[in-house]
């Protein structure tokens, strides 16, 4: 399925949408297509909103953000996000200037809290218990953080509610046509997010024959029977990365600090790199030499024996 068709079919206005991947394997291609298709009122969930949700917030796709760490890892801030939530005191003119196109609701956890929300969703439990948030202000800021009493010890434990998105989109190194998906390197919470979700779209660097998957079944993270669509989109994670395929574009992450700080530059970025191209292939053509700069070196591991 093309990315255009997958987004048209599985992402609707008002949906709860997850694009997961912790630094690694973030599907920017999917985020850009959602922007191009001008989806609105989305509830965007991710541990780390990262540049992709900053772009989607700037483009007006988001009604609400559910997250646990909203920064530009190693480089600075997500300024579109910050403009949407900051309210500088005593300077009403600045405040008006900084106000976003639409107000952004936030629902905030810690990483563990988000992981636990996905785990509960994947296990079809209404909550997940965790030992966390004692003596912090997070449960005050977010009343959805609640508590249960252990029936054995009487201890009070924090709980978070299950997160069951309408659609989860994950990027992976490879899948077969049935959607059996293999990834390696950092795995984040993709498995939990996929199992928690009503629909799952997998975007891959390579579509491989079923035999490739079956040769190493322990490498499969998401089984095809929970996958609704497989989209083949090489370099679909750039400026994020795909271990074994291409490196993270750290220069772009650093550049985002300046781009996102300036609404005009951000608009220009969206116009050129997102709205201005029809698809990921065209996006890549905008930056000649990108592939050569970031293409992964070779560090192959040996195989193992599955015989008996």
């Amino acid at each position: 399925m093309s990315m255009r068709d997958a987004i048209a079919r599985f992402v609707h206005d008002g949906d709860t949408v997850v694009i997961e991947g912790f630094t690694h394997l973030i599907s920017f291609a999917a985020g850009h297509e959602i922007i191009r298709q001008r989806r609105r009122d989305l509830t965007l969930c991710r541990l780390t909103p990262d540049l992709i949700y900053d772009q989607m917030i700037a483009a007006g796709c988001a009604r609400k953000l559910v997250f646990s760490w909203a920064g530009n890892p190693g480089a600075g801030s997500l300024h579109a996000f910050r403009r949407a939530v900051e309210r500088p005191p005593r300077d009403t003119s600045a405040r008006r200037a900084r106000a976003p196109a639409a107000p952004l609701e936030i629902e905030e956890y810690s990483h563990f809290g988000m992981v636990a929300r996905f785990a509960a969703g994947a296990a079809r439990l209404p909550f997940w218990p965790l030992r966390d948030y004692a003596a912090t202000d997070l449960p005050v800021a977010n009343p959805r953080i609640a508590a249960v009493t252990c029936p054995y010890t009487g201890e009070r434990l924090a709980t978070v509610p299950a997160l069951n998105p309408d659609v989860t989109i994950i990027h992976a190194q490879r899948a077969d046509p049935d959607g059996d998906t293999q990834m390696w390197g950092l795995l984040g919470v993709q498995k939990e997010a996929a199992f928690a979700s009503r629909h799952v779209v997998v975007v891959v660097e390579e579509l491989v024959d079923e035999a490739v998957i079956r040769a190493d079944p322990n490498r499969t993270v998401v089984p095809g029977f929970i996958v609704d669509a497989v989209v083949v989109e090489p370099w679909g994670a750039h400026p994020s990365y795909a271990q074994g395929y291409y490196d993270r574009d750290n220069a772009f992450y650093v550049a985002w600090e300046g781009i996102s700080r300036d609404p005009a530059r951000l608009t220009d970025y969206l116009d050129t790199q997102v709205y201005g191209v029809p698809d990921r292939a065209a996006y890549l053509r905008l930056t000649p030499g990108l592939e050569d700069r970031l293409r992964a070196g070779r560090r192959m591991c040996a195989g193992v024996n599955y015989g008996y």
């Binding site: 912790f22 630094t23 690694h24 646990s68 500088p88 810690s110 990483h111 939990e192």
Partner: protein, 291 residues
Amino acid sequence: MATDATAGARGGTPRPAATAATGATGATGATGATIAPREYSPSEMMVVTAARELRDGEVVFVGIGLPNLACNLARATHAPRLVLIYESGAVGAVPDRLPVSIGDPSLVTGARMVAAMADVFQYILQNGRIEVGFLGAAQIDRWGNINTTVVGPYDAPSVRLPGSGGAAEIATHARRTIVVSKLSRRAFPEAVDFVTSPGHAYHGVRRAAPSLPGGGPLKVITDRGVLEPDPATGELVLTALYPGIAAADVARDVGWPLRWPTPLPTVDPPPAEHIRLLRERLDPDHLFLKG
């Protein structure tokens, strides 16, 4: 109770001299000559001081920047068997470049293990397997509470910071949390605007297991000296100074009446070899050792 401590005047009733930063590992000496303050930067001194907190073989939950450099310095010197775990899931990483994010691919290539994040938080961190956790802090207050969420009110912040990430869990579960933060009045208020990660007292109640099984922020390593919680009250007190720094230089940028014992130990200056390692091998481009 925490309220006992609020009466203590600056410099008065010193806490019993707990392990000063210098006592941790005996990192100096073996590698020879130390150097004068003008020959190393405050950031370098912070890294060296943090490295001394680590014991060989310990399991450390580490972030990017100065803590990462501190761990690498410890591994290159007295703690070669330190196990580094990043919240991204990389265990035992041996990056061949300086990672700019905790999710850098160089942390995976050649690592001992890649753990899914559900396992990192449940089976490693909540399980109590982390001996040392490093945290930064936009603000840290008198009771060791850490804020990385907002400046100003939560619903209308003047500055929106990134939030917890894994910080709340680290401060909850790591046996010892080490905070690395440069001194400033803004960063060391009497009370933080928002408690993202738990310190030693919250609204007057001291931290305790089982809800807070870890030790909390037991060392706060600044660019001028080291703060530690008074075991009796949980209040952060100055327990060691860097060479050439006076206690008043620290107290000036701390938002509460800072206390310290007399005499106040001075941290050994960094061995020349450690500074060389940092500059030539561990951060050759001075990516993190700017100031």
